[in-house]
């Protein structure tokens, strides 16, 4: 095989991307070598099993992916607003919307939220780490290599171009030859394994490692949302694993699951995909609900209204999420009865969701609202999400959906729920817990600029798309060739650039705050308004989290702790703390499996077998690994705590 068969050639934009990637890569290598940071990188990050550091790596990767997916979005918007420019051709546009969708859902939204869960959930429940820290590192590296594999596709081999839903038969070997679609399958498969492992890991952590006295109904709402999300992950992700595996076997080994030959059944893919895909939507929205609940209660300076109703509505949403998948293809001709059933089950989700909205509003009642940046994101969520929610109900009405389906109405709807829900929550949660992670807050003034730019940009971008849909503009159309559609598309593009600007300000704020923000001296960073245990730790959080774990028997334990003058450090009770050792095994194991996946993408079986063998050898090594971690001595704990608490 010749090198030009592998590298993507002939596209100036991709040459540009290659050059910039190479330059950034060389710069990184140079900086690491120049500042002698290779050892630091390996010891502190690549081998870490500390949930806080893994969480930070998740969030950094997710921000990088938000950038990549965002650039994809900008390119699409430019193409649609200036159809005469000839900026992108059809095939290139198809690649871009495919990678945009896949990256934003799988490699941006989920890892961002999982990153926040990683950092915050153990702190909220008074745990010292995950139940299985080694597995946690494994999860991260499987996500990371899956992400890397998916992303190299645009310079090596070509990107997938069958949409993020990858419907068969289009995505089968016959109609999508070449490695592009394999990148999609293997990238998702590899990272999906990690997600499933994280789901199990967090579930056990939450069920078995809570602070003494903390019953399930004493848990902070974000932890609850994580538990419910993990339940969905555990029961939904195996379906994706199977679906991806079957399509891979179809494409690489010639099976006939989704083919048009051999009596295969292409429409089975749509069913399998959405049996995972719809719960997946709730995997990215429930944690967002949890984050908003925490932030709204904190800055309303008031207990969350209807805690039990909030929890039960999440549980009901989780259960219903498995019973609505057909609404993604009402138009498949399943008949009036089937469509009616799924129509009603879909609309029923609006009830628990509505309950949550009203609970947030009631939390604001008789409160003292402080408009910090995280609170702005959370407040903006309520009216914005309502606009997405009501159109969701409209889409759920199957008879009307025949007109909305595959149109920009649908695009507007799911961007309204996913951006106003998930993305706002990611920003809100990151800013809110930023001081816990990095020891300083993000600048409020720049944060507000980022918020308002992104917020207005978002509405300007997506509100017009409802009308484009009603005017018959289909999704995934690479060119605006109907004159009537052009004005609204131009408005939409202006909004998209507003969002891009907001993102740039946000990223600049990371740098600015690193340079100029005041360093935190107290753990309770938001003017002493913290309500849950994560604010009871010092900042920066010591690697063992809690010197002594408090007894908890209520919902907002830190409020009372502060009233009674208690802390998470009772010198008389300090005992040696057991901690897991750092290890490079997860990184190496997943690097091997990543290599195996890469081999499968190009159907180079020797590479695949080699990678798989390497992975198996690493697993055997793990089985013989009886490293039981180490104990942090009492003296060291006392020293650390005295320094952190300024005693």
């Amino acid at each position: 095989m010749h090198i030009t068969d592998i590298l993507v050639t002939g596209e100036p934009i991709i040459y540009g991307a290659m050059v910039s990637m190479a330059l950034v890569g060389i710069a990184l290598l140079f900086l690491l070598t120049y500042f002698k940071k290779w050892g630091w990188l390996w010891r502190e990050w690549l081998t870490t099993v500390d949930h806080k550091k893994i969480g930070v790596m998740y969030i950094l990767s997710a921000l990088l992916m938000l950038f990549r997916g965002g650039v994809d979005a900008m390119m699409m918007r430019v193409q649609l607003a200036f159809p005469d420019l000839g900026f992108l051709n059809s095939q290139h546009y198809n690649e871009i919307f495919t990678t945009h969708g896949t990256i934003m859902i799988i490699f941006m939204a989920m890892p961002f939220l999982i990153g926040l869960m990683n950092i915050i959930v153990p702190l909220q429940i008074g745990a010292r780490d995950f139940a299985f820290p080694y597995l946690n590192a494994l999860s991260f590296w499987s996500f990371f290599f899956g992400m890397a594999l998916f992303n190299i596709s645009f310079v090596i081999g070509g990107s997938p171009e069958a949409g993020w839903t990858s419907y068969t038969p289009l995505s089968g070997a016959a109609m999508s030859p070449g490695p592009g679609q394999n990148f999609y399958l293997m990238g998702l498969q590899l990272s999906g394994i990690g997600t499933l492992a994280t789901g199990i890991n967090l579930m056990v952590t939450i069920l078995k490692m809570r602070a003494p006295g903390m019953k399930l109904f004493h848990m902070p709402i974000f932890t609850w949302s994580t538990l419910v999300t993990c339940f969905i992950i555990v029961f939904a992700f195996p379906i994706l694993t199977v679906a991806l595996a079957l399509l891979t076997i179809d494409r690489i080994f010639g099976a006939q699951f989704f083919t048009l030959t051999g009596e295969g059944l292409p429409m089975m893919w749509a069913n399998l995909f959405w049996m995972w895909g719809h719960p997946e939507v709730y995997i990215v929205i429930l944690p967002a609900f949890g984050i908003f609940s925490e932030i709204i209660a904190t800055f309303a300076k008031k207990r969350l209204f209807g805690y039990h109703a909030m929890v039960w509505s999440m549980i009901i949403i989780a259960l219903l999420s498995f019973l609505v998948w057909v609404h993604h293809f009402f138009t498949m001709g399943a008949g009036a009865f089937v469509n009616s059933v799924f129509s009603i089950s879909t609309m029923l989700i609006a009830v628990p969701t509505g309950v949550k909205i009203f609970n947030w509003l009631a939390t604001l009642y008789k409160s003292k609202i402080e408009f910090t940046v995280p609170m702005l994101w959370s407040l903006a969520f309520i009216p914005s999400f309502i606009l997405g929610g009501v159109t969701g109900v409209m889409l759920g009405m199957a008879a009307a959906d025949y007109q909305f389906h595959n149109s920009y109405f649908l695009i507007a709807h799911f961007h309204y729920v996913l951006i106003a829900g998930t993305v706002f929550a990611c920003f809100a949660g990151l800013v809110f817990w930023y001081p816990k992670m990095f020891g300083h807050k993000m600048n409020e003034r720049l944060g507000k600029w980022a918020f308002w730019l992104f917020f207005f940009g978002f509405h300007v971008c997506f509100f017009p798309q409802y009308f484009l849909g009603l005017d018959g503009m289909p999704r995934r159309l690479f060119i605006t060739n109907v004159v009537e559609w052009l004005p609204l598309n131009v408005i939409s593009t202006v909004g998209a650039f507003g969002m891009g600007l907001g993102f740039i300000v946000f990223v600049y704020n990371v740098y600015y705050s690193f340079r100029y923000s005041e360093r935190e001296t107290t753990g309770d960073s938001w003017n002493g308004n913290g309500r849950t245990l994560e604010w009871a730790t010092t900042t920066p959080v010591p690697y063992y989290n809690f010197a002594t774990v408090p007894y908890v028997d209520e919902i907002d334990p830190y409020v009372r702790m502060k009233e009674e003058g208690k802390t998470t450090y009772e010198e008389s009770k300090v005992k040696p703390i057991h901690m897991p050792s750092y290890t490079g095994q997860p990184f190496i194991m997943m690097a091997f499996l990543g290599l195996a996946s890469f081999g499968l993408v190009f159907e180079w079986m020797y590479v695949a077998v080699f990678g798989l063998l390497g992975g198996i050898i690493m697993m055997i090594r793990r089985s013989f690994d009886y490293d039981d971690g180490y104990y942090v001595p009492v003296d060291e704990i006392k020293r650390t705590e005295k320094k952190a608490r300024g005693l």
Binding site: I200, M209, P238, Q256, F257, E263, L272, Y626
Partner: protein, 201 residues
């Protein structure tokens, strides 16, 4: 975390790590149930879509499948005996019964490979039709699980030789016994809903 250790009860449950490991594995088995359910569902949906390939009723034979079922069910029983010996503190009993379990498992695998090769000779391969794809992937995924289980158990047998019964080794054996019983349950479903129904229709 590992500091507190109970003084009574089964070894594998005495530390919090042990308890968490077992709970985590139960949840993992929950995910496995979903995985196999999905495969059963695809099989059911694609049932009858044999195209030009032979029909299952022409190929499935009761004899070999009954032998396989007998081997695997017995292995589940001997696996139970192995854990019983472990609870009694007998490394020797555990090792012997586990080895028998593995031998039975290997026998099952041998028959399955023989069966697959036979079908392939008769013109039913993973590529011949949607039905046969789903059959081979369903039965093959189960077979792959059995293979992995055998490899895993061999590693554990080496470890028990090296270290004897501890909280950790007993946890590992307890977990693999859960896995083994689970595979048995899956096989019962494959036996009834794939082979028995396939022979009749």
């Amino acid at each position: 975390m590992a500091a507190e250790e109970l003084k009574t009860g089964p070894l594998e449950y005495r530390t919090q790590e042990g308890q968490m490991g077992i709970m985590g594995f139960w949840i993992f088995l929950g995910a496995e149930v979903v995985l196999f359910s999905t495969l059963f569902a695809t099989y059911a949906v694609l049932f009858g879509r044999t195209a030009d390939a032979p029909l299952p009723s022409e190929l499935f034979e009761p004899g070999i499948v009954l032998v396989m079922t007998f081997l695997l069910l017995t292995s589940s029983f001997t696996c139970g005996l192995a854990i019983h010996e472990m609870r009694r503190g007998s490394v020797k009993g555990l090792t012997i019964w586990m080895a028998i379990t593995l031998a039975l498992g290997l026998g099952f695998l041998g028959f399955e490979i023989f069966e697959f090769v036979h079908y392939a000779h008769e013109g039913a391969t993973i590529q011949s039709s949607a039905f046969w794809s789903s059959f081979f992937i369903l039965a093959g995924t189960h077979g792959l699980h059995v293979t992995l289980g055998i490899g895993w158990a061999i590693l554990l047998l080496i470890q028990i030789k090296q270290r004897g019964l501890t909280n950790v080794t007993s946890r590992k054996f307890f977990i693999i016994s859960l896995y083994w019983h689970f595979l048995d349950v899956i096989w019962i479903f494959i036996f009834t809903s794939v082979y028995l129904i396939g022979m009749v229709i």
